[in-house]
Symmetry: C2
Subunit: 197 residues, 2 copies
Amino acid sequence: MYEYDCLNTPDRRVRRTRQAIQRALVELILEKGYDAVTVTDVIDRADIGRSTFYAHYTSKQEVLFGNLDRFTEFLRAESEASPGKLFAFSLPMFQHIQEQRTLLRALIGRRSGSPVVAHSEKVLAGIVRGELLAYLPDGGHPPRPLDLMVTGIVGAFMALVREWVEGDLTETPEVMNDAFLALVLPGVEALLAQAPG
Amino acid sequence: MYEYDCLNTPDRRVRRTRQAIQRALVELILEKGYDAVTVTDVIDRADIGRSTFYAHYTSKQEVLFGNLDRFTEFLRAESEASPGKLFAFSLPMFQHIQEQRTLLRALIGRRSGSPVVAHSEKVLAGIVRGELLAYLPDGGHPPRPLDLMVTGIVGAFMALVREWVEGDLTETPEVMNDAFLALVLPGVEALLAQAPG
DNA sequence: TGAGTTCCGGAACAAGGTGTTCGTTTATGT
DNA sequence: ACATAAACGAACACCTTGTTCCGGAACTCA
């Protein structure tokens, strides 16, 4: 499943229909959030027949996956363009994302994820932020790069937890914790060290 | 909303009912995935009346948030127990998670999130893994801590992207990229440096 | 133990979403 | 221009949601 999107079909009607569906879905997600969007909404907005929708896609999900492939292709290309360079994909990716922010917000934005996860991340971010601030001299840092760092730290932690509980938990908590700290601590300490006195 | 869970109600029936609902939902999420679970499923599994469910909760979401508070409380307590120590929460949290893995898998596991995000992360993980391996001497590292590092890196990157597109994108791509690299690069280089020749 | 309150069960309901079918009409590629 | 393939649209059976009602049961507290 989710193999392709065939926007280069010989038939023009197919292209028109699929683009109308994709555009409608992205619009609606940004307006109402992913869960609240129904197939009926999409076909109304796209102004196509119900049977037409199901002739092309079997669900909302499948429509989004069609859009996704552009980005994965982009990622792969950037990585392969600079062999031997670490994280060569990241800057071009951020640039690409800025151009396509509307689409991206619908694809991976907060409204497309679980509110439970979002809430957990928010709580954790508050705690991490407090810990980092406690490490700084009073009135030290500009707050913005610190907040970005907090976001990254929380993202790394949650990703490790997710990966762990999803598998069979053969790793010990100590191993997981070491992995987390090994990845994150050096960068954090480097940033905190250059705090203005 | 989502304030509390009141499992310490004076009335025993209330406790029984709510626990039955929570248990049923967790079981069903692990079996079918969050989206596929309906309220009807839950009340069948919990063996309670439909009206009873809606007397206690207004949706699936709310049931999950009830469970969540245990963890946020735990987090806060651990962080405050060791003031001035960075990331004091992380090891106790991993230990706590191991004990409650069933619940956690339902709360924040992959089945509870968007398949689109999951797919993006998978693709990105493949790319990052390839880049790290290219940096290692042949046959160098034990693969497992490397995979954990990949997971953390991808988690940090995706979290930054999400935060960015969710806001108004006032940061430039360069600033975002710098934040990502500043957090992650020191740890990565430290790990790769200690690779066995 | 009893009195009074609170909760549960179960059926029924309207409203709305889903996914499929089928015959007709319209657009397309060669 | 013609054969083909796609879109339309109405109708459909089915499922999910959230609400209402009331008789009967379980509970708390004294």
